[in-house]
Each structure stands twice: as structure tokens, then as C-alpha cells.
Amino acid sequence: MTDDPRRTPLYDMHVGLGARMVPFAGWEMPVQYPMGVMAEHLHTRAQAGLFDVSHMGQVLVTPRDGNMETAALALERLIPADVRGLAPGRQRYGLFTNDRGGIGDDLMFANRGDHVLLVVNAGCAEGDIAHLRTLDEVDVTPVTDRGLLALQGPLAADVLARLVPEAAAMRFMDSRIYPWDGVDLWISRSGYTGEDGFEISVADTRLQSFAQALLDQPEVAPIGLGARDSLRLEAGMPLYGHDMDADVTPAQAALGWSIPKVRRPGGARAGGFPGADTILPELADGAATIRRGLRPEGRAPIREGVAIFAGAEGGEAIGHVSSGGFGPSVGGPVAMARLPAELPDGATVYAELRGKRVLVAVAPLPFITPSYKR
């Protein structure tokens, strides 16, 4: 790898749209367009936003014996999810775990009939691919010639249906391949904003023309990483490397829901993934600290790293903000932090901000009500 940040096929389009480009996970990505983070966020919640997420890793996992069950069971040795039970044309959320019980990455995986499509975080892709290649029964093929777009918002389905009529019938977490203008689009009805929407993989050579076709729709505005972060934060979605990492367990990250009964004690395929001896007992007993929502009183945002205290004075920090900022749809600051599990929702804690302690309420996640099309 070189030190120069990589550029997606849409780099020139972003610059032409007036984006401010920033380095992110080894890529040069648009953090905002002239509309600004706040308006981009609100536009996505009101209409439809188009995100370039081509930096994310797309990986095909194909069983060498041609039997999908082989691939599913192999993946289950790395991911504590029900891969075998995933029907063709469906997608799920899962975690790579490590031997310490921490989270190596989070990902989406889709059953595409004769192989599994994985979408992983940009900063983890290289490690994930090496990790997957420890599996003998599957071929692991990074997708290097396709970009990824996300179209998110309450009007996303109306917009996409104009270009791809079949997409309108998809349900939340469906994964399909549909044609557009002579090329195959890999479409899933999913996203990272709390809104209905789609993630669409397109051949690099046609990525810009497809993105432009979406931007030509009056409801669609280009949205940068800044609003992507505030949208996912309001939706209560954790960000790898911030709200969870190799030292945070699924229970601590409040992601135990992604580990189904079949992989837990008493289930047909219990355990058998890295860190199971740590992860499964903790899921049963409850973690001592767990990712929670925070609503500061007043308007001052509390950002990543801010210490949280139980009292207005003295004492040791009970946690630190892992993600935080202003929530444009909430109309105030929102944050997440791992805090002692016994704190009830609504409990008052204190954030130390510039030497002063400000009142913060522990709040349930998400901060907004998601509107997925189930």
C-alpha cells in the first residue's frame, strides 16, 4: 500500500460538485458538499441522499465444492451469526470476532445463491480478507472493479424505481441483482442512516453515469461523510474503531442481537467462533459496561473522548464518549458511550467539558425512529 490516499471513481464528480475532500481510512472522500452537513443530514431524512461508499470493501466468498452450505459453515467459524440459515437473496449484519472476544470488524453478508457477498469497513478490509483466507473450503475474491453507492431517505425507493423498477418490490435486507442500462447492479435494501434506502454496487466503468442518473432526480442530493456520521449516530448505529474495536465485546457494544440462538448455548451450532468462550457467557450474564445513548442538557456537543462521571464533582470517570456530536434531526447534541450496565435510561450522569461538568441523560438508542421497509 502507498501512503497516498486512494480515490474512488467518483473523485472528479465530487470535486465538480464542490465537495470538501478529506482523508478517511486510506481514501480521499467527500466530507461535505456546499449544502453543508446540517442541510445534507436533514435532506436525507426528508427526501433522498446519495453517498459514495466505494471505499468499503466488497468481497465474494465462494465454496470450492460448489455447495453453499460449505461456505456458510466456513463463515460461521469466523462470524457468530446464522449464515447457514440465510435464504438466497437475503442479507444480514454480523461481526468478525477475535480470540479475546473483541470485535475485528462488522459487516453485511448476503446469500447470492452460489456465493456470499460481504461488505466490510474500508479500514479493516485488508485484515478481513487475510482472515477469510484462513478458511480452506472457500475462495475469497476481493471485488476490485466495482464501486458502492448508498441511496438513503424516505423517497429513495421512489427515485430508484424510476431507474430500476424491480427495486420497488424489495424488502429491508433483500439482496438482488437487477439490470440498469446494460449493466448488473448489486442492490441491497439497507443502509447506515436509519432511513429506508439501498446500497448499490456498480461496475467502476459505469459508476459515474449511474450516480449522475440518480443525481438528476430532483429529490436526490449528494451527501458527504459528515452527514453520514450524524445520520448513523442518531440511528444508534455503532462505528467500527470508535464505538467498538478489537477490545470491545459484542455484549459491550450492545450488538448481542446479531448473535442468534442457534449460535448460543443450546443452539444447534453453538459456539465455534473466535472468542466464543468469552462472548457467550457474557451474553448470558450481561456485560458490566454497555454501549448507551447520551443526551446532554443544553446545546454543547460532547465528542469522542469526553469523560463521563457519575457525579457533579470528583470521582473516577465511568466511561468515555465513543461517538458524539450534534444531531440535526434531534435538534440537539447526541452521543454514545460504554457505561455501567446498571444505569437506567434517564439516569443523570456528567460529561466533563472544558473543565466543567455538564448534565447528561442516559438515553435509549436509537435517537430517532428508523423507517425501514420490512
Binding site: 452537513v37 459528515g226 450534534f326
Partner: protein, 119 residues
């Protein structure tokens, strides 16, 4: 006539006081401003002392007192509508300061020099 600091503040002399805000360039760089903490009226400050906190959707930043003096007034409406800095940075003043020394406005940039600074 407006003067400018290297910290992207604009200064306007009014009588024996200076009105202070941030430039449009600074507000564009900050992005959407969501929170502003202003100093207390009557506070005596040193030149360069960080006395205002500005939080945008992206980051927190400070602005400092351009000169030593006493804060005589603050724009409390800003705290309620911090986004007005993005709407019109020139009318969204932050505070008025009564300089401790005469000639406090000397030595700051004029508009041409500030334009050269921001390119």
C-alpha cells in the same frame, strides 16, 4: 472600517469599544455552527485569552480576545441561534470589548491584507 486578526476575527471600532465577530471565511471553514459559549459581561481579559467556544457540526474551536480589556457586552441572541453566524457572519457579533490600552486597533490587518491571508 473593519480590521482583521490572524485568527479570522473581524474588529469594528465603535466609540471607545471594539465589536468582535468572526469572518465569513471562518464560518465557512467551521461549517454549521451549533453551539456558542460567550464570556461574562464585565470580565477582564488578556490579549490572546480564549474566551469564546464555538462548536460546529465538525469540531470545537475557540476564539480569543484580540486585545486586553473588559468585556462590556455579549450577543446573547447568538447562544440561542448559533446558526446565524453561518447566515451572516458580519452581523453576528460575539462581544464588545473596552481595550485597556489606547491604539488597540493598530497593527491589525486591513481588508486587503486579510484577503491576501486567506488567498
Amino acid at each position: 472600517m473593519l480590521k482583521y486578526t490572524e485568527d479570522h476575527e473581524w474588529l469594528r471600532a465603535e466609540g471607545d469599544e471594539i465589536v468582535v465577530g468572526i469572518t465569513a471565511h471562518a464560518s465557512e471553514q467551521l461549517g454549521d455552527v451549533v453551539f456558542i459559549e460567550l464570556p461574562e459581561e464585565g470580565r477582564k481579559v488578556e490579549a490572546g485569552e480564549e474566551i469564546v467556544v464555538i462548536e460546529s457540526v465538525k469540531a470545537a474551536s475557540d476564539i480569543s480576545a484580540p486585545v486586553a480589556g473588559t468585556i462590556t457586552a455579549v450577543n446573547t441572541a447568538l447562544a440561542d441561534a448559533p446558526g446565524s453566524v453561518n447566515d451572516d457572519a458580519l452581523t453576528a457579533w460575539f462581544f464588545r470589548i473596552k481595550p485597556a490600552d489606547q491604539g488597540a486597533m493598530d497593527g491589525f490587518m486591513d481588508e486587503d491584507a486579510y484577503r491576501a491571508l486567506i488567498g
